[in-house]
Amino acid sequence: MTEPNETPALAELRHCSRSFDRGRIVALNDASLTIGRGEYVAVTGPSGSGKSTLLDIMCGLEEPTGGEVFFDGRRVRGRASWARIRAARIGFVFQSFYLIPSLTVAENVELAMLWQTKAPAARAARVADLLDQLGIGDRRGQYPMQLSGGERQRVAIARALANRPEMIVADEPTGSLDTQTSVEIIALLEELKRTSDITIVIVTHNPDIAARCDRQVSLVDGHIVADERRQGVQT
């Protein structure tokens, strides 16, 4: 929780719960969590333990059935408010990439910028930069179907970065990728982390990836059972 003399946490859950099927399934149970600016956090736990639900609630893709969610010190509620925050300040990366099949690589990235950057030339320039930076500049005119998994995830990362967000939220970003490609994608995120003060929250099953993060939050059956900082890491 926020101390008076600190800058507010970037994302915060206070006693958040989420149940489905009229309470028969409790995906998240009274979870409280604070993510500070610039943190690099891993969320781990067995499948079905509520990791995705936690992330979704943290970014407003899902409303908690109980508890409160804050972003940058302000309580946020409602789809539209959350959408505006995500547009400007949060970038998403998912296991299944979630690109739009009828749009090209460049258009998929630009789609995130349509309402944020009004000038088409500025959007095009930003898209070109990002794709080059992620090593898929030559793929700009292709459709997602024509790309490999690793390439698709790079497009998704480019899209997540398009509006220069303060936080990247990645839900098992390497879950559909082979080991080599996974290493590359994680290296990309870590490079990003090194060169900016971006906050990264990453859900992963991979203990190697989790071990590289500054902090590891563990979930079991919807409960946060551990929240550990790696030795020598300052908040």
């Binding site: 893709l61 789809r79 959408a83 547009a87 998403f92 998912f94 009828s102 749009l103 258009e107 995130a112």
Partner: protein, 372 residues
């Protein structure tokens, strides 16, 4: 890329479905334009046909159903002529008759001393004389393939074409003119006319014209006095036609909008994940809904453009059919087109509202992971 890129790709991705929907809208717009155009065309030619022949007022049977069903006693003629300010009156008999067993045309009879003859401009030949002669409008003559000296049959009687008439008006172009007595005899309507055409003494002011109109109306409780412009529009028959055309075409537009709604519903239910993705990358629900509406509007715009072409084509085809020669004339105005497109663009977006609402009803997390 712009805001229309995504809806356009979605329309293009489902070619058959989109084409069928667009055609549905096109047929509705086309029907609206053709039906409205043809009824308006008829009205227009009535109005202007009457105006062209140099009359200021038309006296008809009170609340008559149609132009041809109006009947006014010939006793009224002299009384109308006696109204101060009236220069001349002319009884007119009007009927629709079958010509050569294939086309229906207007036939009118004028008294020998009528001032109306002065406005009849002949391209060739002379006015009708005797018992079995007619002057034919040039376009009817062309449609029937007849010229001066040829014979046409009307009401099972043969008539010789004595002349061909020129006129700027469709109505006069498409009419056969004969002597009043001949037509009265042929229709079995002696001592009655369909209406009286009234010409005022010149010059006259609008106020004076109104006074004279009141004078004319006072002649008998059984008559209506109208000026030539409002005359046709006042008839029950025209009002009925107008209403039928409107109702039919609006129903078709309504049906086509249900088609749009259905297509959009199918389209959005297949793309639930896409809307989840849009939400995840920060599109507000209103903006996502706007995409769905834009998709509907794009189909409506496409359908309208094709429909305008279709409507104009249908209108010409109908007016070319010989059975309608002289009765139906295409009449296309920007107002009619604007009305058709206006209705489609009003109803189309409305029909997109429900599919649009469906899209943002479920939370983004469920949409993106394919749950409902």
């Amino acid at each position: 890329m712009n805001l229309l890129t995504l809806p356009w790709r979605n329309i293009a991705a489902q070619k058959v479905r989109s084409t069928l929907t667009v055609l549905g809208i096109a047929v509705a717009v086309g029907a609206f334009i053709a039906l409205t155009g043809l009824t308006r065309g008829m009205q227009y030619s009535f109005d202007h046909g009457l105006g062209d022949i140099g009359a200021d007022y038309v006296v008809s049977q009170r609340n008559t159903y149609s132009l041809t069903s109006s009947s006014v006693s010939e006793d009224i003629g002299p009384k109308l002529a006696a109204v101060p300010g009236v220069a001349a009156v002319s009884g007119v008999v009007l009927s629709v008759t079958e010509v050569d067993n294939e086309a229906n045309i207007f036939v009118t009879g004028w008294p020998d001393d009528s001032f109306l003859w002065q406005s009849l401009k002949l391209a060739s030949g002379r006015p009708p004389q005797g018992d079995r002669e007619v002057v034919l409008g040039q376009s009817v003559a062309r449609a029937l393939g007849k010229g001066v000296g040829d014979t046409i049959s009307m009401q099972y009687e043969d008539f010789r074409i004595s002349g061909l008439a020129v006129s700027t008006s469709v109505f006069n172009q498409n009419i056969a003119v004969t002597r009043l007595a001949v037509l009265q005899d042929m229709l079995g309507r002696p001592s009655a006319v369909s209406l009286y055409q009234v010409r005022l003494e010149r010059p006259f002011t609008p106020e004076r014209a109104e006074e004279i109109r009141a004078g004319l109306a006072a002649v008998s409780p059984l008559i209506d006095v109208s000026n030539s412009e409002e005359f046709a529009g006042n008839m029950q028959f025209e009002k009925t036609m107008d209403a039928v055309a409107k109702v039919v075409s609006l129903l078709m537009i309504l049906a086509s909008s249900i088609l749009v709604a259905n297509t959009l519903l199918m389209s959005v239910s297949e793309r639930g994940q896409e809307f989840g993705i849009l939400a995840a990358i920060g599109w507000t629900p209103a903006r996502v809904r706007m995409l769905v509406v834009a998709e509907g509007v794009m189909m409506c715009v496409l359908g309208s453009v094709i429909g305008i072409g279709l409507g104009v084509f249908a209108m010409y085809v109908v007016s070319w059919m010989r059975i309608f020669a002289g009765l139906l004339e295409p009449y296309l105005t920007t107002a009619i087109v604007a009305q058709a497109v206006g209705w489609v663009l009003l109803v189309g977006p409305l029909s997109a509202l429900y599919p649009a609402w469906r899209v943002t009803r479920i939370p983004p997390s469920a949409a993106i992971r394919g749950q409902r």
